[in-house]
């Protein structure tokens, strides 16, 4: 590999040999990284490659164990985020670092060293946000705002600090394609003004589109650097994974569409809390043999819809039917007995009990579904253990020792386990929310292929996802959810990103209101 030298340009940040160790794990191993002024620099890598650890050291939330950081040629030690902001380093977080109960202006004031008077700050926020095409109302309470707007707050907060380097951790994972386009315009404008951007993303098309330079991390080490414009998403992916990534094939076999297995008719539910979304007469028929995907920006009612189908939120009896039997107010276990299976979004705490062993977690969802895991009130540990071993092998769940507690697994491995646990049952109806959230490319391909295979064997699969690449890869039909309204599910071949994006941004809502 040729280490590209890019000296002679205006170097802003120069990290040399940065090392960070957590216990036995070397999260960053002698990482070198150079960021120039006015450059959009991509940082790529699989989950656990050490990207977040690296940027946290730049932002002062973690202290390096070795190596040094040069900022504009001066050696600096960044002790805390305030020091980073002082230098001119701002960060837009992956999981928003906003305070839901506070207003926009209060949230922004918290990140500024000298916010001044609240009313003056509010005026500044208004003018800066309009200037960059990201309008904000300073007095809104964050809890009331959709995710797209929340990210605007983060970005405007960062801009008000007048940074020279903005670190962005997966900024587009919660945006519609149109919102993402707007973000790219903002980033390109910032870069043209001389501000550097360190851009972390899983979406390789995006990186190719806007980044000038890419650094790829694997297992905590820099494995290569490149100009993304000269690469393809496939070559970038193989650099990240270190091997070719298997591609998922949905089209190889045309779906044999059978009878309706899951039917939602006029499913409506009031919002349970002020921060929840109401469902508005959602109708959908899911046939045997097909994968239907529901796209949408986070927080538009996906969680509520999932809860209504799984039975966590009871609705009217007729609103949900599984294999023709109405069950809107039946229990989860009743629905599982009808050969339905559910994988919720949050794997730790919802999909699995953190403190229980994997075998015990298996018993929790499969005790009533013919695996003979329980009998006369007793649990068969032997059968649960056998199932655990089987799922582990089938879905390549990696663990340090046999049958560990759920919380000791990494996110990707636990996701393979919770999806595998349900797939292994060969359910007639499978509803899965965010099947590959935070899972690396290899494991994601495995899970997606398994979902398609399940559908082709005669089951009905409903996938709720925010990842459009994933949706276009596996779905036979696509519907879009927006503010609790669901658009009609249309064949994937008739859909494209622009249409899905428009539906996400409110088109689905308009369609639902007309209907």
């Amino acid at each position: 590999m040729v280490q590209q030298t890019r000296s002679g340009m205006d170097v802003l940040l120069d990290a040399r040999g940065l090392t960070k160790r957590f216990g036995d794990i070397l999260a960053n191993d002698k990482v070198d990284l150079v960021i120039n002024k006015g450059e959009i620099h991509a940082l790529l890598g699989e989950n656990g490659a050490g990207k977040s650890t690296l940027v946290k050291m730049f932002y002062g939330s973690l202290e390096p164990d070795g190596g040094e950081i040069l900022w504009q040629g001066q050696k600096v030690s960044i002790g805390n985020p305030a020091a980073a902001r002082e230098l001119g380093i701002g960060m837009v977080f992956q999981h928003f670092s906003l305070f839901e109960a506070l207003t926009v202006v209060e949230n922004i004031a918290l990140a500024l060293p000298n916010p001044g008077k609240m009313t003056e700050l509010a005026t500044r926020i208004e003018s800066v946000s309009v200037d960059y095409g990201l309008p904000l109302n300073p007095t809104d309470i964050v809890a009331d705002l959709p995710v797209g707007i929340r990210q605007r707050i983060e970005i405007v907060r960062c801009l008000l600090q007048e940074p020279q380097l903005i670190i962005m951790d997966e900024p587009t994972s919660v945006l519609t394609p149109q919102e993402a386009d707007l973000l790219f315009l903002t980033l390109q404008r910032l870069a043209s003004e001389g501000c550097a951007v360190l851009y972390i993303s899983h979406r390789l098309e995006e990186v190719q589109r806007i980044c000038h330079h890419a650094t790829i991390l694997r297992h905590g080490k820099v494995v290569s650097e490149c100009n993304p414009a000269n690469e393809t998403p496939a070559t970038l992916a193989s650099m990240m994974v270190g091997a070719d990534v298997a591609s998922v094939s949905a089209g190889a076999q045309k779906p044999q569409v059978g009878e309706i297995r899951l039917e939602l008719s006029n499913l409506s539910a009031k919002a349970a809390t002020p921060f929840a979304t109401a469902l508005n007469s959602i109708s959908l028929g899911l046939h045997a043999g097909e994968v239907v995907a529901i796209a949408g920006v986070a927080g538009n009612g996906q969680g509520e819809l999932f809860d209504a189908i799984s039975g966590e939120m009871p609705v009217s009896q007729e609103m949900v039917r599984i294999d023709g039997k109405s069950c809107g107010s039946r229990s989860i276990t009743w629905r599982r007995r009808q050969k339905a299976a559910f994988v919720p979004e949050e794997r730790l705490g919802h999909g699995a009990v953190p403190g229980l062993k994997l075998s015990q977690n298996i018993v929790l969802t499969r005790h009533a579904t013919g695996d003979k895991l329980t009998g006369s009130g007793f649990v068969s540990t032997a059968r649960a253990n056998a199932l655990e071993k089987h799922i582990k092998q089938e879905f390549d769940v990696r663990m340090s020792h046999d049958d560990p507690e759920a919380r000791s697994l990494s996110g990707g491995n636990l996701q393979k386990f919770v999806v595998g646990r349900e797939l292994d049952r060969q359910p007639g109806v499978l509803v899965v929310n965010q099947p590959t959230w935070g899972v690396d490319a290899g494991a994601a391909a495995l899970i997606r292929q398994a979902l398609i295979d399940l559908a082709r064997s005669g089951s009905a699969v409903l996938v709720i996802s925010q990842d459009l690449d994933e949706i276009f890869e596996i779905a036979d039909r696509i519907a879009v959810i927006s503010r609790g309204y669901l658009s009609a599910a249309e064949p994937a071949a008739d859909m494209n990103r622009e249409r899905v994006g428009l539906l996400m941004a409110g088109g689905a809502e308009a369609q639902g209101e007309v209907a």
Binding site: G60, S97, F99, L102, I141, P274
Partner: protein, 305 residues
């Protein structure tokens, strides 16, 4: 008669008000301190003892505040530094306070106490009715109102208050922005301890100027309930404390005059019933409650360093 009732309402409400406003600050920072009763009773006994030994009510009050803070340092060390369970630690703090105060107070049972003097403001205090009710109280009553006003202003108008609310709403974000969650919470816990100590001093130096074992009689718990009932809003704490104080005083008068033929047990439960009723009515506005409820209340925080 009405004047006398109003006076007793103020004295009944003041300790609740002070203890509750302290706990409100603690809970706004995301810490649940169930040890209010324990800190209060320690304030009561230490305040009484010091005032009795030195002959100075002011010294007694200062000592009571110090005792409340000492208890809260213990609490803060356990739950913030050692990340012990907040509920268990708070309960233990109350048990410790009640027991330890009994031990210290042994020698003071039956000893005549010292009452902090009421203030006399020339002119104002002489106005009929208004004077005695509003301008002839002792300093702690006024201090209580000043505390509420100060806390309300600080929470919603100053940067310290903003940081405090931010820490209670989302400690991970506050940490990510570079605020010291533990430090902010420790300060809040200390403030809560000082308020509980002051409330205790009011019990043994003004309300009933004597030492009786377990004399706070559950007022710490009521203060805790008031904080929730007020949706963590300081001005509502005043309303709650006065409502509770008023109903308990009315109930005493009703029993004394054998008014109507209501069983005394029912009358004694009236303050609690009234408070619960208002609690239910207030929480009808769920949005306001949810926005003001500290989202991190009772959750332990360990910085990832």
């Amino acid at each position: 008669m009405f004047e006398a009732v109003l006076l007793t309402v103020i004295t009944a409400a003041t300790p609740l008000l002070i203890a509750a406003v302290g706990e409100l600050v603690v809970e706004r920072s995301g810490v649940l301190n169930l040890g209010v009763e324990g800190m209060m009773i320690m304030g009561a006994v230490v305040g009484f003892a010091v005032a009795n030994q030195t002959g100075s009510g002011a010294l007694g009050v200062v000592a009571a505040i110090a005792a409340g803070m000492a208890m809260s340092v213990l609490f803060g060390f356990l739950v913030l530094s050692l990340v012990a369970n907040q509920v268990a630690t708070g309960l233990a703090l109350t048990i410790l306070g009640v027991g330890f105060s009994g031990l210290i107070g042994e020698a003071f049972i039956g000893v005549p106490g010292l009452k902090i003097p009421s203030l006399y403001i020339p002119g104002l205090s002489d106005i009929p009715f208004i004077g005695p009710v509003f301008f002839q109280q002792d300093a702690i009553v006024y201090l209580g109102f000043a505390l509420v006003a100060g806390v309300a202003y600080t929470l919603f108008r100053t940067r310290i208050g903003l940081v405090l609310r931010a820490v209670g709403d989302n400690h991970a974000s506050a940490h990510a922005l570079g605020y010291s969650v533990i430090k902010v919470r420790f300060m809040a816990v200390l403030f809560g301890g000082a308020c509980a100590g002051l409330a205790g001093a009011y019990m043994s130096l003004a309300y009933t100027p004597q030492w009786v074992e377990n004399m706070t009689a559950g007022r710490g718990w009521i203060a805790l309930a008031l904080v929730v009932f007020s949706s963590w809003l300081p001005l509502r704490v005043v309303a709650g404390a006065y409502l509770f104080g008023a109903v308990s005083v009315l109930n005493l008068h009703a029993q004394a005059h054998e008014m109507l033929n209501i069983p005394s047990q029912l009358l004694s439960s009236l303050p609690y019933l009234a408070t619960i009723l208002v609690l239910v009515l207030i929480s009808a506005n769920r949005r306001l409650t949810l926005v003001n409820t500290p989202a991190c209340l009772g959750k332990p925080f360990v910085p990832d360093r």
